[in-house]
């Protein structure tokens, strides 16, 4: 008896596999698609080669003055020349190691928190949160044992990071309280929180910064003066707290009612119920949202240019006005854009990864 032997499958038609097949499926599936592809290719052709030409091929990478720069290409010498200022502002040259150390400590200190197997993460995290800010403040500002560097000399990327990090760290606790208040059963508390949140969310950050710089001093009793940077920080914290509150509220709403009831049935009071049962779950849910708020805040720090603080963006903008380097605004802005972009894009990727990892079934 002869067994029937299947013939091996024929290979798919050459036009539907490999590069050609992929091209056909993705780029030239019908006339409209082909047209779009042509359009896109044209767009790329128009923009990319000149850009590469300008940014890399014709660019000047080394030198010391503007005269070293070849016309027609980007002059990265300008960035190189001012790089230290963009990073540290007017922070005294000899003391810049303190800024570096602050950053290194931040990264080194926070790194264990990202190790999954780390034991006693919570205790470590809390300790870190309590110790680090003091350490950072002491290192940056000076004080016992260190030369004082007034905040008017802070600047560049360092100031941007200070505003963003302090802003979000300060806004977190306030935002959580506001979110709890907004979902409270007590009408007065709710009204107060809703008013607060909607007020700050309804006005532009610029006016808030204006307010902090020209009105805050009039609100306080005579003889109390607040550092300009601190005023800006207060404004940023109040402003961001309202946004954090809304993010956290979303998390609170996503916690099923059963959790509240179960916690209540165990005899937990309000604060314990929130602190031990609800918030840990809710906050975990909204970590991506908080990262997104942080990204928005990071971009918004550029607005302090309006009240005359020299953050990364303002440092760069100032440098483009310098007569010794006139005409390199584009290089300056491109560099600024690149720095902001790297931070924001990095964080948004991280937030997306978190979102996937934390997708533990509470959603929807």
């Amino acid at each position: 008896m002869s067994t029937h032997v299947f013939k091996p499958d024929l290979p798919p038609p050459t036009l539907s596999v490999g590069v050609v097949g992929w091209l056909r499926a993705n780029l030239f599936s019908n006339w409209f698609n082909t047209l779009l592809t042509a359009l896109a290719l044209y767009l790329i052709w128009v923009t990319v080669p000149p850009l590469i030409q300008w940014a890399f091929l014709d660019a000047t990478w080394s030198g010391s003055t503007r005269s070293d720069c070849a016309p027609g290409g980007a002059c990265w010498v300008f960035i190189q020349n001012r790089f230290a200022q963009f990073m540290y502002g007017f922070y005294p040259q000899g003391l810049r190691w303190r800024v570096d150390l602050t950053v290194i400590l931040a990264v080194a200190g926070a790194a264990p928190l990202f190790v999954k197997a780390m034991p006693r993460k919570l205790v470590y995290g809390l300790a870190y949160l309590l110790v680090y800010p003091w350490l950072a403040f002491w290192l940056l500002h000076g004080g016992p044992g260190l030369e004082v560097v007034p905040t008017s000399q802070w600047g560049g990327l360092m100031l941007t990071l200070v505003i963003a990090v302090v802003g979000i760290a300060g806004a977190m606790p306030l935002g959580v309280l506001l979110a709890l208040g907004r979902r409270s059963d007590m009408p007065a508390i709710r009204v107060i929180c809703v008013t607060f949140i909607e007020f700050w969310r309804g006005v532009p950050l610029i006016t808030v910064l204006f307010m902090s710089s020209v009105m805050l001093p009039l609100f306080l009793p005579e003889q109390i003066t607040i550092d300009k940077l601190l005023r800006a920080l207060i404004a940023v914290i109040l402003f961001e707290a309202a946004y954090i509150a809304e993010v956290v509220r979303g998390g609170l709403q996503a916690i099923p009612k059963g959790q509240y009831e179960a916690a209540g049935a165990l005899g937990l009071g309000y604060w314990r119920m929130m602190g031990l049962v609800i918030l840990p779950q809710a906050l975990k849910l909204v970590i991506p949202g908080i990262v997104n708020t942080f990204i928005a805040l990071f971009k918004d720090t550029s607005l302090v240019i309006i009240i005359g603080l020299f953050d990364l963006f303002n440092s760069i903008h100032q440098a483009t006005v310098d007569p010794a380097w006139l005409g390199f605004a584009i290089e300056g802005y491109v560099f600024a854009a690149l720095v902001y972009w790297i931070f924001c894009f990095g964080m948004s990727r991280y937030s997306m990864r978190l979102e996937r990892r934390l997708h533990t079934g509470h959603k929807r």
Binding site: N26, L27, S29, N33, L36, T37, A40, L41, L43, I44, D185, M186, P187, A188, I189, I192, E198, F199, R201, G202, V203, P204, L205, I206, T207, F210, M211, V214, M215, L218, F219, L220, P221, E222, I295, K299, D300, S302, L303, I305, I306, F313, H317, T320, A329, I330, Y333, A336, A337, Y340, W341, C344, F345, S348
Partner: protein
């Protein structure tokens, strides 16, 4: 264990009663808020009085005495600060409306392109989104204003389009219409045409409900809107005189000028916001399950109709709420105009007027309330719209 029921208020201090506690807590909170408010108010009062700083809103009636670059209403230097406020507000609204309009269109196009089966197009759209939403809007405004528009030629070497439209560093100069003899006939024609369109739309809907047949309302309406006024204009004469910009002295005179500040801020804000809108649109369309498309196709609907009648109405429900907050962001971001000298509310009112009068508290308070009011009205409007398109459960 004790039985709470048998011993009602043994430890019965008032504080264990949740109701009482809630009251106490609320009274304390209100007290604290009032206290803080009073403290700030008191300090401010004391500071103002002690230092002899003028306060009150009387300054709104004083003449401003400075010029403003762009004004949608008549404004001269002799007008009051109150009018300056209106000019600034209108300029803010102009940027907001333009920005929202352009951002919505670009955002929808990019959002749909992001989902395109064409690999290249979808990658390009993704690139657009990732680049522009991760760069601070202020930086984008500066880029357009200082790097791009500053590179335009001086007035004497303007790019010209047929001797009527000019582009230079001072802006885009367009011919402007002024009413001529046929103006009123034109207005009448326009009213008639609009009425005709409404009637047509109504008739088409009734017919569709009765017979199931479609009528191309959009194209027909466009036709009516063009043809009727054109006929009237033929009969009654041209409705407008065109004032063409002309280079006299240093600058172009006559016509409309779109100032570069407006262009920069509108472009930057539209492009920035469009990146967010695109993501919202993509998410919205993806939220409509594929079964809907298949079901619609099996009913025999054409692709255009599937999109218009099945996908978009459902996607809109997901899209509208986040879209609203993007619109609000755009309005708030329009205050960044102050950084490049576009005469918006923040720039002329919270900036120049504040400086001239020194009345920081009043000007900032007014400015903030305006933004609050705008935010609130956009939210209300969009909530109303959202409710209108919400799923009606049967």
């Amino acid at each position: 264990m004790q039985n709470p029921a048998s011993e009602p208020s043994r430890r019965g201090s008032m504080m264990t009663d949740p109701k009482v506690r809630a009251w106490v807590f609320q009274i304390l909170a209100i007290g604290a808020v009032l206290g803080i408010g009073w403290y700030l108010f008191h300090n401010t009062q004391a500071n103002l009085a002690q230092r002899g700083i003028t306060s009150g809103f009387a300054f709104l009636n004083n003449p401003a005495g400075f010029g403003i670059l762009q004004s949608l209403i008549d404004y001269t230097e002799g007008d009051t600060y109150g009018r300056v406020f209106v000019v600034g507000l209108l300029n803010t609204l102009l940027v907001s409306v333009l920005g929202i309009f352009i951002a919505t269109i670009v955002g929808f196009v990019v959002g749909v392109a992001r989902l395109s089966p064409n690999w290249l197009i979808s990658r390009l759209a993704a690139l657009y989104i990732e680049i522009f939403r991760n760069i601070p809007p202020l930086l984008q405004i500066f880029f357009w204003y200082f790097a791009v528009l500053r590179a335009m030629p001086p007035p004497r070497d303007s790019h010209a389009l047929g001797e009527t439209v000019f582009l230079n560093i001072r802006g885009l100069y367009l011919p402007s219409p002024t009413p001529a003899e046929g103006f009123w006939a034109f207005i009448v024609a326009l009213v008639i045409a609009i009425a005709g369109c409404v009637a047509l739309a109504r008739w088409a809907r009734v017919r569709h409900e009765n017979t199931g047949r479609y009528f191309p309302v959009l194209w027909a309406s466009l036709g009516i809107l063009v043809v009727v006024p054109a006929l009237f204009a033929l009969v009654a004469g041209s409705p407008f005189h065109w004032s063409v910009p002309e280079l006299t002295g240093f600058n172009f005179r006559g016509g409309w000028v779109v100032i570069p500040e407006l262009v920069a801020i509108t472009l930057a804000l539209s492009i920035y916001t469009a990146a967010f809108i695109a993501e919202i649109v993509r998410a919205g369309i993806q939220a409509v399950s594929h079964g809907q498309t298949e079901a619609a196709r099996s009913l025999g609907l054409r692709p255009g109709h599937i999109l218009r009648l099945v996908i978009i109405p459902q996607a809109l429900r997901v899209i509208i709420p986040p879209l609203t907050s993007q619109y609000l962001n755009l309005v708030k971001n329009s205050s960044l105009a102050a950084a490049i000298g576009y005469p918006d509310l923040v720039s002329v009112f919270a900036g120049t007027v504040l400086n001239q009068t020194g009345q920081a508290i009043e000007t900032i308070a007014i400015t903030m309330s305006v933004y609050l009011a705008i935010s609130l009205s956009i939210s209300l409007l969009m909530n109303w719209y959202n409710k209108r398109i919400a799923l009606v459960e049967r």
